[in-house]
């Protein structure tokens, strides 16, 4: 559940007290890199298919991985810099610092003056932004292709030379608090989602919201942000994804030129913080001004760690397509259209993450129905899969949609860069994407029935309910009854 890209501001201060000297590693030894793309080229030539070679990948001596996907449809390019650092890496009392630092990344370096980063991207005819998720923090520029070198220079500069100025921080933390008010405090569904996760996870950091608890934001200091940056913003904790009308060899050389001199540094040990097994249903209610109640149900679920050996995440992804992949998929057809128990209902499962997985079902009861009615109806639909499985027709349909999406995704350069960046963020190689697609295509109806039986159990379930409150203090719909 990544935060949407927060717009970012210009900077005021040129203070540079926080700059560390950078030691430029002489880059005479390019052999490993050259060897690598030589091999790639050979492999590509041998099989005479560019698809196998593209995307291209190299790793600089400082550990920075660079992935280039050539796409010559239009004279544009996208650069994304991904850091393997998100709210999952935060500690109590400092929730939200990953996202706050993302904001601070636009506040300048000793080399790029106040306001310059955004100004230079804008002057280049580019668009830029950034986003923070549980698992990663990413920055991007969409530009006319000839501006790529300048963007690489700018990103390389702020990878190690950021100024975290106290005065800037004081202004920016207010902006982040406004962002929290907008996204969460005044958004009943977001508040419910936040509370539900805080109940579903007790030990694992996924229990904390990405944007941070308000009180943690209130007490956060520039030193907290600086410490975060110094610890995690190093080339060996990052990778660069570039798509567009570019030549990968040229880009690799540019990457060496701009990023190659940045110093690697050992990273702290990241402890696993495994969530203890849930042993019984959990329920949470959130009251907020709203008209309609909302139901959210979440079951603990497996995550893809081994592309070849794991099978359950693929089966759950295909189940998601069968239940909620199109307008006449089971959930919408039965719960919204036929039985009219819901105004809308969604099934969500993402099989890739650094942390533990969850299957989310959320929906809004129709007029005259309660969240208890909706919960019962969702349970009945899931029981139907558990008892009778799914049909070959449904599975075939899900496969057809999957294949078509593979074509449509090529229409967006940004989308292609996102796909590569996201899979790499969880520690899986982008080269596994094709293999994952094949594995998805191979899922059988029997496998889907097995995972449905295994994972939709009450002991691993958390249920959240939004209990809508009147804006004016007058009672509205009857209070939302929770069952049990």
């Amino acid at each position: 559940m990544p935060l949407l890209p927060p717009p970012v501001g210009c900077i005021e201060s040129a203070a540079n007290s926080s700059r560390k000297p950078s030691f430029y590693v002489p880059h005479t030894d390019l052999f490993p890199m050259r060897l690598k793309y030589l091999l790639t080229v050979l492999v590509a030539a041998g099989l005479s298919t560019a698809a196998l070679a593209n995307p291209y990948e190299t790793t600089l001596k400082n550990g920075l991985k660079v992935i280039v996907k050539e796409d010559r449809r239009a004279p544009t390019a996208v650069q994304m810099v991904w850091y393997r650092i998100g709210s999952i890496d935060e500690v109590d009392g400092r929730s939200g610092v990953a996202h706050v630092l993302e904001h601070m990344m636009f506040k300048g370096t000793p080399n790029v003056g106040p306001g310059e980063f955004n100004k230079r991207v804008a002057a280049a005819g580019g668009r830029d932004n950034a986003f923070t998720s549980r698992d990663y923090t990413a920055y991007f520029q969409q530009i006319p292709k000839e501006k790529l070198p300048e963007m690489m220079q700018l990103e390389a500069d702020r990878m190690r030379h950021l100024t975290v100025d106290a005065k800037e921080f004081e202004q920016e933390i207010k902006v982040v608090m406004e962002e929290r008010r907008m996204r969460t405090d005044d958004n009943p569904q977001a508040k419910l989602f936040e509370q539900m996760n805080a109940v579903a996870f007790q030990a694992h950091p996924y229990r904390r919201p990405i944007i941070g608890w308000m009180n943690d934001l209130e007490t956060m200091t520039a030193a907290d942000a600086k410490a975060w940056y110094d610890t995690w913003y190093v080339p060996n904790n990052a990778y660069v994804v570039i798509t567009g009308d570019v030549d990968h060899k040229t880009v690799f050389a540019l990457a060496e030129e701009h990023y190659g001199g940045l110093e690697a540094r050992p990273l702290p040990v990241r402890k696993p913080q495994i969530e203890p097994r849930q042993e019984g249903i959990r329920r949470v209610t959130v009251k907020a001004p709203a008209e309609l109640p909302t139901l959210i149900m979440g079951w603990k679920a497996p995550i893809l760690r081994d592309v070849e050996q794991d099978s359950e995440p693929y089966a759950l992804e295909m189940l998601a397509a069968v239940l909620d992949g199109h307008d006449a998929a089971r959930f919408n057809k039965k719960l919204v259209r036929e039985d009219k128990v819901a105004l809308g209902v969604d099934f969500g499962y993402d099989g890739t993450a650094r942390g533990p997985g969850m299957i989310y079902v959320s929906g809004t009861p129709a007029e005259g129905k309660t969240v208890a009615d909706l919960e019962a109806a969702v349970r009945a639909e899931l029981a139907r899969v558990q008892q009778n499985g799914i049909s070959e027709t449904e599975l075939k349909r899900a496969r057809a949609q999957l294949l078509a999406r593979e074509v449509y995704k090529l229409d967006s350069m940004f989308g292609q860069a996102m796909e590569i960046g996201q899979i790499e963020s969880v520690g899986l190689p982008h080269t596994a994407l094709d293999r994952m697609l094949k594995k998805l295509q191979q899922v059988t109806a029997a496998e889907i029935q097995v995972v449905a039986r295994k994972y939709f159990t009450d002991d691993a379930l958390t249920v959240g309910v939004l209990d809508p409150q009147p804006l004016d203090g007058k009672p509205r719909r009857p209070a939302v009854a929770t069952r049990h």
Binding site: G9, G125, G126, Q171, A329, R337, S362, A366, L471
Partner: protein, 441 residues
């Protein structure tokens, strides 16, 4: 998952915002992209851009059938007509349509905004798949069933979504803003639970027959297709449409007297809007206004509003301004959200920045920066089939010249500081500004 839920909950408002976004994004079009255009035998306009790189095809059919054509007392009719249009057509019921599209890997989208109702098909260009997908599209356009039970269900969902929207500060502010800007024009009419409840199935069928007509249709095709196939596809789409002409446009919006609207709400943040009706599509002041607005509040992180409201004072996460030219003069709008106790200060600041800009315009340096970005980013506006489709469809629907895209960068470059000042002075008047604050103190 959450997004889908939110989509549902704000269903009633979404088309409007989508429309505005599309209009903002579609201010540019294609230099060097060949737009072929012709008229079908029945009089529908057709635009075609061939793009063979990817094996896919987009077809969008637009009608002048947005909410501005809602009859008196029937606010919400255009939106509901479009919503029910593809839920059962010809020999297929709603499930068969969705299932067959999924089997083909095709999707059917679109929606209705103030001006336009759209039906958009994306399909693989493989002929066997394409032909079935197009037959579904034709049925939806030619033989919508408007099944009574489905109509009642969608009506109930729309009413519920409207009621929910009326508890949300952003939605309340948006509705109040449009109502205040257009007190005597259809743009100001808002669908309410009551107005939607009064709609009948026959209203939908009649609205369809009057507005989804061949003379009111604009068909845009982008993708892996020959000109010859494009002609045949367009002809067959056009032939089965009801006959009819584009509808009469309402009387233009009238000049306003400024007004300060305040609405109570328990939210922690106030939602603040400021603006007035400005220009229609094709207005000669369009280029000076968008170049100027880049500096004022359109240029994202480098705009004056962003620097003053967000960076210097930390008042807001998001602050922006834009012009949304429509068939008839659409709004100029500034928007921000801030802690309720600061709402008054933030509004005053935004207003001062605006009025200073109207009087003095941008500096030469700001103008050059705006022109550099707007011309330099031009390729980014056209680097996918989807973006091409959005742009070409908008150009055709609004009757802009087909060389609009070729001219775009030159027209941006030609704007001077004096042009900006003159254009802003003509369209933004301090005594006509409407302000809306929801959840202020």
């Amino acid at each position: 998952m959450k997004n889908a839920m939110k989509r549902l909950l704000t269903a009633a408002l979404t088309p409007l915002f989508t429309a505005l976004l599309a209009l903002c994004l579609s201010q540019a079009a294609q230099a060097g992209v060949k737009i072929e255009h012709w008229t079908t035998s029945g009089g529908a306009r057709v635009q075609f851009v061939e793009s063979k790189v990817l094996p896919m095809l987009d077809v969008q059919v637009d009608f002048g059938a947005g909410s501005m054509f809602d009859p008196d007392g029937k606010a919400g009719l255009a939106a509901l007509t479009r919503a029910v249009l593809d839920l059962g057509a010809g020999a297929r019921d709603e499930s068969q349509i969705a299932e067959q599209l999924a089997d083909l890997g095709a999707t059917l989208g679109g929606g209705a905004d103030t001006d336009r109702a759209s039906v958009a098909l994306r399909t693989l260009s493989d002929k066997a798949k394409r032909d079935i997908a197009l037959s579904i599209l034709r049925d939806v356009l030619h033989q919508p069933r408007f099944d009574a039970a489905i109509f009642e269900r969608e009506k109930a969902r729309t009413i519920a979504a409207l009621k929910d929207a009326l508890t949300r500060p952003d939605a309340i502010a948006g509705k109040a803003f449009w109502a205040a800007l257009y007190p005597a024009h259809p743009y100001g009419k808002q669908a309410t639970p009551e107005s939607v409840a009064a709609l009948s199935r026959d209203d939908l069928a009649a609205f369809y027959r009057a507005h989804y007509t061949v003379g009111n249709a604009s068909i845009t095709l982008v993708g892996d297709l020959s000109r010859r196939d494009a002609e045949q596809i367009a002809e067959r789409i056009a032939q089965g449409l009801p006959t009819g002409r584009p509808p009469e446009l309402p009387v233009m919006p009238q000049a306003l007297t400024g007004q300060d609207v305040r609405i109570a709400h328990p939210a922690s943040q106030a939602h603040v809007y400021l603006g007035m009706p400005a220009i229609e599509r094709g207005h000669p002041d369009f280029f000076p206004l968008i170049v100027g607005n880049y500096t004022l509040g359109g240029g994202g992180f480098v705009s004056r509003l962003m620097k003053e409201v967000r960076d210097k004072r930390g008042y807001a996460y998001s602050v922006y301004s834009y012009f949304a030219p429509l068939k008839q003069p659409g709004p100029f709008q500034i928007g921000l959200q801030t802690q309720r106790k600061q709402a008054g200060d933030a509004l005053k600041l935004a207003r001062d920045i605006l009025l200073d800009f109207v009087q003095n315009g941008p500096t030469e340096e700001e103008l050059a920066a705006a022109q550099a970005n707007l011309t330099g980013s031009f390729p980014l506006r056209l680097d996918s089939n989807k973006k091409l489709l959005d742009n070409v469809a908008a150009i055709a629907f609004y009757g802009l010249p087909f060389d609009y895209l070729d001219q775009y960068q030159d027209k941006i470059r030609a704007v001077t500081v004096d042009d900006v000042k003159a254009a802003f002075s003509r369209h933004i008047r301090a005594d006509s500004l409407i302000t809306v604050t929801v959840a202020g103190e």
